[in-house]
């Protein structure tokens, strides 16, 4: 699939970002094998491909958890107190921002503004945007996608 996409772009070196986007869509993340494959098919130095993939926050080089919660840390969300929600989720589910829980079930990511500022603060749980979020709403939502009743505090 990826090869076909690369071919559609005529193996053009400047299509690197498009191809990284597409590869991440298919595989969920970009590991070294995928990056090597891309650099070979575009005839680009591997260090260049790695450099580009790590420059942009959107590309994930590690396998994310099976469920993902992303917090918007834009100005409006900051002013409306998203920081408290993030801390609450970190404590409740025992996972730090930017990381994936040891059991691989939950990742907590931060993004800089999803542009839904009038609804601030915003969280995204498995692609569903939660506007005017509170710690309780977000924690309940995460519990329900994880299928967990209550998480034991460590």
């Amino acid at each position: 699939m990826l090869d076909k996409f690369v071919m559609q772009h005529g193996h053009r070196k400047d299509a690197l970002l498009e191809i990284l986007h597409y590869a991440q869509e298919i595989y969920g993340y970009l590991d070294k094998d995928i990056l090597t494959h891309i650099s070979n098919s575009l005839n680009l130095p591997t260090s260049h491909v790695y450099g580009v993939a790590t420059f942009y926050n959107f590309f994930k080089l590690k396998k994310p958890g099976s469920h993902i919660v992303t917090f918007c840390l834009g100005t409006a969300c900051f002013v409306k107190g998203v920081e408290e929600i993030i801390t609450a989720v970190e404590n409740e589910f025992n996972v730090k921002r930017g990381e994936t829980r040891a059991d691989g079930k939950l990742s907590v990511f931060i993004t800089r503004c999803i542009g839904a500022c009038a609804m601030a603060p915003n969280a995204i749980v498995d692609n569903v945007v939660i506007g005017k979020a509170t710690p309780e709403i977000v924690i309940d939502k995460i519990r329900s996608v994880l299928g967990e009743e209550k998480v034991e505090a460590n």
């Binding site: 942009y56 926050n57 409006a76 009038a118 569903v128």
Partner: protein, 547 residues
């Protein structure tokens, strides 16, 4: 399609639009979707079927009305009755009462009447009125008529002259004269020439460009086409943040439709004018919105800025002359062509013509997307359009221009919004964010937040931005730990001035603005944090007490 076919199409679609007695516009943009706008849309469609009023009433999916905090928003024409927080159950009621009986349901209407009073919607002329997925809706409202006018009756030079006469300045931040920029690219030697429409709206707290793309994508495309005709470009890119999925889908659809009607592509409107447009997705890098970094990103590289000169106008994408323009600037172009540059120059202030879109957020009663003539004061925006601060709390500051803008105190609230006035007080127009802050927020904490943002988003190429901002961040951390020294304020100011003057690109050059403006207007809060280890707003030092 020939020009005459476009005219016929417009007439047909306008007749069709007029054949309905009522039109129900359901806002389905990013602000309203999470609150069930799709279900509301379906409920309306079903309700008009059930009540048998399909011939009298049209239900349309539209872009943003602007009142994003009370979504889903629904507008019923004629009369522009704006219903707020509509549920599928409400939808049936509205059809029954408003459409069939002709009585609007007053209790469900949007309450802040002054929200629209001080606005002037030129760029957002179609937002919330047309279906962004349907090119015919745009054409019915006079869409692509400006392009037709250019192609059939104006020389490229005449187009540039008109834009020059309008006094339009780039809406991306710096406020460079658009007509002048076009002249540079038109005169530059080298082929092909490129146009980049910048939709990398990375400023946290700003969603004006996204809303525009979701509500009226063809206005951007038409603006690009006219610019291309004027400067002689063959190829255009719309560079858009990957974080804006709905805007991406909307633009993709719009481009497909414009292609199929031969409004984009080869021999446009059966003239010799060719112009193709591709979408390019960003990937989470704020700096990519900088005009030389955007070039690197489209070329598939790390988005690090390049030294200027050479300027993109002479050596841009792949070394070719390139016009880079914010999408809001482009959306102004069709209006200027249709109404004339002189007409446009009469709006706003003499030095700063036209209108500007702002995302109004933070501690404000009526947040949303607004458009006001240049020269409107911040007071009018905050207290009239935004209807003041919730829970009668005290106004403290207003952040203008995103993370590299300035924090302005109450004394500056009568400032007219234009490029020069904002720069004078240490803020910038930026891409148009206004965030209102009340007395529950701490200005030291706020300045630290913006610094953290810029540290994360710095590309790392130049020393002042990469290292200097990190040092500012460390000084803030020291202050927050209660280990601040009085000299730190001086050090922050020295570093801030150095970063502003010595950095390579606009990100670094403006990044210290929040620090410098809070030092200038809220010095007492710094003193309080350092000498008394106290935060009146109750934001800082909390962890220390607990731990």
């Amino acid at each position: 399609m020939k020009p005459i076919d476009l005219v016929k199409l417009a007439e047909r679609d306008l007749d069709l639009r007029r054949s309905y007695k009522y039109r129900i516009n359901v806002c389905c943009s990013s602000g309203c979707l999470p609150f069930g706008a799709e279900d509301v849309l379906k409920a309306f469609e079903q309700a008009i079927k059930e009540y048998g009023v399909e011939k009298d009433c049209k239900v349309a999916r539209t872009g943003c009305v602007g009142t994003c905090s009370v979504g889903p928003a629904v507008v019923v024409e004629p009369g522009d009755y704006l219903y707020q927080s509509v549920t599928p159950e409400n939808a049936r009621e509205i059809v029954k009462e408003h459409i069939i009986k002709g009585t609007p349901i007053k209790s469900m209407l949007y309450r802040n009447e002054s929200f629209f009073k001080k606005q002037r919607r030129l760029i957002l002329r179609n937002a919330g009125k047309i279906d962004p997925y349907n090119i015919e809706d745009y054409i019915a409202m006079g869409g692509y008529s400006a392009l037709m006018k250019c192609l059939t009756s104006m020389t490229p030079k005449a187009v540039i002259d008109e834009v020059m006469a309008s006094g339009l300045r780039g809406r991306g931040g710096a406020g460079f004269l658009t007509g002048q920029k076009w002249t540079f690219v038109a005169r530059a030697s080298g082929n092909p020439k490129y146009i980049i429409a910048n939709l990398d709206e990375g400023d946290p707290g700003v969603f004006a460009n996204r809303t525009l793309a979701e509500a009226d994508p063809h206005a951007i495309i038409e603006g690009m086409l006219i610019a291309a005709y004027a400067i002689g470009a063959e190829k255009g890119y719309i560079y858009i943040r990957a974080e804006y999925p709905l805007a991406i889908t909307t633009l993709k659809k719009a481009l497909d439709q414009a292609n199929s009607l031969n409004l984009v592509g080869e021999n446009i409107l059966e003239t010799s004018f060719n112009f193709s447009i591709d979408l390019r997705l960003g990937a989470g890098a704020f700096v990519a919105g900088e005009e030389t970094a955007i070039l690197a990103s489209i070329e598939g590289q790390r988005a690090t800025p390049r030294p200027r000169p050479p300027y993109p106008a002479t050596s841009g994408l792949w070394g070719k002359p390139t016009l880079i323009q914010n999408v809001e600037t482009l959306a102004n172009i069709p209006i200027i062509i249709n109404n004339g540059g002189a007409w446009f120059a009469g709006i706003g202030t003499p030095k700063c013509s036209g209108t500007k879109c702002f995302s109004l957020t933070g501690k404000i009663n009526s947040p949303g997307l607004i458009e006001v003539p240049m020269g409107t004061t911040l007071r009018e925006v905050v207290y009239e359009i935004g209807n003041g601060i919730p829970n009668n709390r005290k106004f403290k500051a207003v952040l203008v221009g995103g993370p590299s803008g300035g924090c302005l105190p109450e004394e500056q609230i009568d400032l007219p919004i234009d490029y020069e006035s904002l720069t004078k007080v240490g803020a910038i127009m930026g891409s148009g964010g206004i965030v209102v802050i009340d007395d529950q927020s701490c200005m030291v904490d706020t300045a630290k937040f913006f610094t953290d943002f810029c540290v994360d988003e710095s590309c790392g190429k130049c020393v002042p931005c990469r290292v200097g901002l990190t040092k500012i961040k460390e000084i803030f951390e020291r202050i927050m730990r209660g280990e601040g020294r009085m000299e730190d304020m001086n050090l922050l100011e020295e570093l801030g001035n150095y970063i502003r003057e010595a950095s390579l690109c606009g990100l670094g050059q403006t990044a210290p603005n929040p620090v410098l403006t809070t030092l200038r207007y809220f010095k007492n809060e710094y003193v309080e944090h350092i000498s008394q280890k106290k935060c009146s707003a109750g934001k800082c030092f909390q962890k220390n007490e607990e731990g």
